[in-house]
């Protein structure tokens, strides 16, 4: 809605293009009057009709919702393709980065959090906390830009490519080189993706485990004489997973939707970059399409969270 009101929509762009074209056609002699060129009323109507702006906003919305139920998201203004195709063609890229950062975050943070909980107050605990909090306070896109300058072959080190999902000659490479090339392009964006997520999950895990370790049933478990490992990983961690499970579903949304700014910084042609471009270019159908998909993902994510809840907490299972 807000986007529709912001100037610079396709209508204005089209008008601009016509004006520019007109100005060029007329040559330098009429520069003075180029801004004053009037577009014929009939042409205006035609353009409006082409984009569907001849109808009021609520009517357009009703039509759009109607189409939505027919799984028709409309056509992109910019790409002149169905929105669905535009979006799905970007999915693999965003899922690729999403999955990697997701796995990396969980595989690092949960063991780290548990270890920090067991060694609470130790030097390792304090230092690692400092590191994750510094990471948390750095925005991913800013770090991305910084990493590009440092390692992207700009002024300092030429270790990693300057963005992109793969090299341009990717298809001509051998399969080993393909993997290398892919990893080469993955490192910097993934670091930017995960850096801020580490802190939340690590500290969440740590606090949750500490809280559970002080519970009476942990004392019971120790008195049973079972191993410390089992007490921590079976008794304490299982009970600590509930807050962690909540995040899991929400993560799905981020996972697939990518990040607007990081994808823009690294020029990765995923959902994030598509969203960013669509907003800049006022490609309403794509923006709306992304909105629908993100909303759906969020809903699915919440359901997944609830299912995971039931897995880790038998008390809320339905009989």
């Amino acid at each position: 809605m807000i986007l529709q009101v912001v100037p610079g929509g396709p209508l204005e762009m089209e008008i601009m293009r016509i004006r520019m074209g007109g100005a060029m056609g007329e040559g330098p002699s009429s520069t003075s009057s180029s801004s004053g060129i009037s577009i014929p009323e009939s042409a205006m109507e035609e353009i409006k009709k082409f984009y569907g702006f001849d109808k009021p906003i609520y009517e357009r919305y009703i039509v759009w919702v109607g189409n939505l139920f027919k799984l028709n998201l409309g056509k992109s203004y910019v790409y002149a393709e169905p929105v669905w195709d535009v979006i799905t063609s970007r999915f693999p890229v965003s899922i690729y980065f999403g999955m990697i950062s997701f796995l990396l975050t969980y595989l690092v943070c949960i063991p780290l959090g548990v270890y920090k909980a067991v060694k609470n107050g130790s030097t390792f605990d304090i230092i690692s906390s400092a590191i994750v909090f510094i990471g948390y306070s750095i925005p991913g896109f800013a770090l991305g830009a910084f990493l590009l300058v440092m390692f992207g072959g700009g002024s300092f080190l030429d270790w990693f490519p300057l963005g992109g999902f793969r090299s341009n000659d990717y298809d001509t490479l051998s399969s080993v080189d393909k993997i290398k090339d892919q990893i080469h392009h993955t490192v910097l964006p993934v670091i930017s993706y995960v850096i801020s997520g580490f802190a939340t999950l690590t500290i969440l895990t740590k606090n949750s485990v500490i809280e559970n370790l002080s519970q009476d049933y942990i004392r019971t478990a120790f008195s049973k004489g079972i191993s410390e490992k089992r007490v921590i990983f079976y008794h304490a961690l299982r009970n600590s997973l509930i807050p962690i499970a909540t995040g899991l579903g929400h993560f799905l949304g981020i996972l697939v939707a990518g990040s607007f700014l990081i994808e823009t910084v690294f020029n990765i042609d995923g959902i994030g970059l598509l969203g960013y471009k669509s907003i800049v270019q006022r490609d309403y159908p794509v923006v709306m399409g992304l909105l629908v998909i993100n909303t759906l993902l969020l809903l699915v994510g919440n359901i997944i969270s609830d299912i995971i809840y039931a897995i880790v907490d038998p008390r809320i299972r339905f009989k």
Binding site: Y217, T220, E228
Partner: protein
């Protein structure tokens, strides 16, 4: 007839550091247990009584060597000798891993039946878990044992698939007892096992424990602050005050003929169910229990003792034999 000792606690001291200030340095220490010696005889129930904060539960936890898990900074000294078939071992000298071998023989029943059971495990899993580590039973044997234990404590075998929250407090404490019994222990430390239950359930659980004691040939350390419960179950009683044993002896002796001034005051505070029996003399102690962070010198009880003398501040009184098998830590009283 005096039975042999199965567990001996010698000069046990437990100190908790108190951290304070910005840097959380150790500024003081709480002497929760200050040189306690106890013995538990085979097949008996030793009642351990005292006011809140006198160190009863701490002794229980120190005996099963579990204090370090909840408070890593704790300072424990003394000896806890457990008599096993292979001879005696000092439990306090064992590392965590070595201790695990003996956990099957000495088990604890915890105070709070709500929080001491893992809410994410079924009752069957809770009872079964110690068997995984202390026995070589296979799955079927373990299930059979769980079912048998559940029936022993008055629950049904089918209930093993349920979760703790589906049970009442009394039932949960029964689960706790079944869990403690699963490895066939010789000694049970019962840390206020009934204080979280209401009175009618208390009686059921106490009676259950007595039946099981006979059947399993258990020796029990029964920690409680409810004197009537302790009298009912204990063959011997030890009265604690501020980290020390004030008096110990046969249950009925302590209950009816207390020697130590603290025991006298404590027992005179037990309410009588019959309102007509009002002629009982009540000894009212003045003041509060001193904090174990800053204990009085000499006898810990002297600040509130009705017969305190200036000499009481000089040295800590030791337990003296006053009557057969009956000790009291006060040089100014006698058994008659």
């Amino acid at each position: 007839m005096k039975q042999e000792n199965i567990l001996e606690v010698k000069n046990l001291k437990v100190k908790f550091p108190v951290a304070g200030g910005i840097l959380l340095r150790k500024v003081a220490e709480v002497k929760a247990v200050d040189g306690v010696s106890l013995e538990l005889r085979r097949g008996e129930t030793l009642g351990l009584v005292g006011e809140s904060g006198c160190g009863k539960s701490t002794i229980g936890k120190a005996v099963i060597n579990i204090l370090k898990f909840s408070s890593p900074d704790v300072d424990i000294s003394g000896e806890v000798w457990l008599k096993t078939e292979e001879g005696e071992v000092n439990l306090l000298s064992l590392s965590r891993n070595e201790m695990r071998k003996y956990r099957g023989q000495i088990q604890m029943i915890f105070q709070d039946p709500y929080s001491s059971l893992n809410s994410r495990m079924t009752v069957g899993q809770i009872i079964e878990e110690p068997l995984l580590y202390h026995t070589k039973m296979n799955k079927d044997e373990r299930n059979e044992r769980v079912a048998w234990l559940l029936e022993k404590v008055g629950l049904q075998a089918e209930q093993s698939k349920r979760y703790p929250h589906e049970f009442s407090g009394g039932q949960r404490q029964r689960i706790g007892i079944a869990r403690a019994l699963s490895t066939n222990p010789k000694i049970i430390i019962a840390d206020e096992p009934v204080s979280a239950l209401d009175v009618s359930i208390q009686a059921q659980v106490i009676n259950l424990m007595q039946e099981l004691q006979k059947e399993f040939d258990l020796s029990i350390v029964f920690i409680a602050h409810d004197l009537s419960v302790v009298e009912h179950i204990s063959s011997r009683i030890a009265v604690m005050y501020l980290g020390n044993i004030a008096e110990s002896g046969p249950g009925s002796d302590i209950y009816h003929k207390p020697i130590h001034p603290y025991s006298k005051a404590l027992l005179s505070a037990v309410p009588l169910p019959n309102p007509k029996l009002k002629n009982k003399e009540r000894i009212i102690l003045t003041g509060d229990v001193p904090t174990p962070m800053n204990k009085p010198s000499g006898c810990g009880f002297r600040t509130r003792c009705p017969i305190a003398k200036p000499e009481c501040a000089d040295s800590v009184p030791v337990l003296e034999l006053k009557l057969p098998d009956h000790y009291a830590a006060c040089p100014y009283v006698s058994g008659n």
